[in-house]
Symmetry: C2
Subunit: 322 residues, 2 copies
């Protein structure tokens, strides 16, 4: 429940041993990278430490090599990275709700302060950046292995330095990781320039489903259960697709409708200013940020589309775009 | 014909006035950004200077505002940026073959040393990085306008910091540009995250044309005249598409065949090691780098495809992939 400083978090970690590190469920590169970087750092100080992550993306599994918890010690301290809310600590990762999280290391402004102590730096683009600062404070030498974890954490959360959360400091931290000898070009090729055959097949179907409305100011992409079946793509591969409708020139509201199960849709809303994604989503009991929000809809495809278009039209009017 | 140091190039520029700056034809972000950054720098020192660029991409035109040559002075010195060979100085940009280029500022290893003096730093990811170093040497204060030019130059040539040519120094230079107050998130949104409706239409057709061969080790994308006609996309918009076939998991040779005119194809070959793109292209009288090469083919679509697949198969065998 208490926010602490970097110095306090560092001395807390230095005083611990037998540490188990969790991150949020469906971990992305920042969750995996920040947890593994911290784990490497603690191990380098002669401590017993491990990570416990569930459902790691294929491209990131190698980062956890030798770090996954294998019952070789009895955890005495639970630390999380990149986790804004304890409810998103995956059950599959073995997190027992009765165990208290002692320290949360995070960059999410929305952190619910679920841990006994929280070191939060919401100015950081990635939890990996927060962990990096902490490791330096703890006197950990940044090895090539740690640098690779931090680099993947930061590049994941910044869209490889494309997004507006990339600050001068972010780029300098990434530069310091390159100084440690990592092959960033090859890392990026694997992380950002490789698509599975199944993803390409789904992308093709998704592109064909693209429709525009309201004079091209709204674009909608549909991902149905049939498309997943036909392409063989996994749902975790579809994150990048959500940004596509908004990328089309002239589009202010980009919508991706994903059929999660028969008669149930997850709807992702991405907007360009002045259109407000959170306002559209809020009318369908969802929420989020002004530029990226989400909601759900129970019903068939036609009704889901009708509902989302109705609120999009209202929002376009409110924003003076129609 | 003579290679000079940064210090010599700086003092040369400081001694000049009435300077006209050229860059290569079909200028990309690095050509436009490096030329405009240099021009801003020279103007800030009270000199008369202008750029002359032809066929500037829509997204970059704003950088040249107030910098384009308008006959308000008589050029006494010709300087180029980002131009490896005088043959690629666009005729349309008003370059008269009888006029000698006095100074070339470049980062291409392949620079032909066509200029009287050449300041070449082939360790730099972009000509914009070379110009930045030069401006600092000349004592130019880096304004927000200059920073935007340099940032666009560097981000263009590094695929927004994705490619292997991105060094720690590149990231630190970009960080320094952010310190000057540029809105990198918005710049990147426009440069990397916006697609015209016509491009999206072409992408859809191109995705549908994707075929794989040799057990998925080769992927071919076809861009026909009909597709350009149907989508309304411009050829200059298709550069990003060429990287797509190679991105598919398991693909070693990614091929994009672009029908330039009835019965004439431009073929782009992109490979992942150990497959060698230059060797495939060389069999069709083309050339390039080990990972990216190109060639042309006169004939119909079927014959073009047959020829390129034949040499791809050979290369896959040589590389031990078949």
């Amino acid at each position: 429940m208490m926010r602490i400083t970097k110095e306090e978090a560092a001395s807390m970690l230095l005083s611990m041993d037998n540490i188990l590190i969790f991150a949020h469920e469906n971990p992305d590169g920042d969750a995996v990278g920040s947890a593994c970087a911290l784990c490497h750092g603690l191990l380098s100080l002669g401590k017993k430490a491990a990570v416990w992550l569930d459902g790691i993306p294929k491209n990131d599994i190698y980062l956890t090599e030798g770090l996954m918890f294998d019952n070789s010690f009895t955890p005495e301290h639970i630390v999380t990275t990149d986790t804004a809310d304890e409810r998103i600590l995956g059950a599959g990762c073995g997190y027992d709700k009765n165990v208290k999280v002692e320290l949360a290391i995070d960059h999410h402004f929305s952190n619910t302060m679920y841990a006994a102590k929280t070191y939060l730096d919401s100015d950081s683009a990635a939890a990996g950046e927060v962990v990096y600062d902490l490791l330096l404070e703890m006197g950990v030498a940044i090895t090539k292995e740690i640098a690779e974890c931090i680099y993947i954490a930061i590049s994941t959360d910044t869209g490889c330095f494309r997004y507006g959360n990339t600050k001068a400091r972010t780029l300098r931290t990434a530069a310091a990781m390159l100084d440690c000898g990592i092959d960033a070009g090859e890392i990026n090729r694997i992380q950002f320039e490789t698509k599975t055959k199944e993803y390409v097949a789904l992308e093709k179907l998704a592109m064909n489903s693209l429709e525009t409305y309201f004079d091209g100011k709204c674009a909608v992409m549909m991902l149905t259960l049939d498309m997943f079946k036909e392409s063989g793509a996994l749902e975790c591969e579809t994150q990048a697709l959500s940004s596509l409708p908004r990328q089309i020139e002239g589009v202010f509201v980009g919508i991706t409708m994903k059929e999660k199960e028969e008669g149930f849709f997850r709807i992702s809303v991405r907007t360009n200013a002045p259109a407000n994604a959170a306002e559209i989503a809020s009318h369908l009991s969802g929420g989020g940020h002004p530029m990226a929000a989400g909601c759900a809809f129970a019903g068939n495809k036609e009704d889901a589309l009708k509902a989302v278009l109705e609120h999009t039209e209202n929002q376009l009017r409110i924003a003076g775009l129609l």
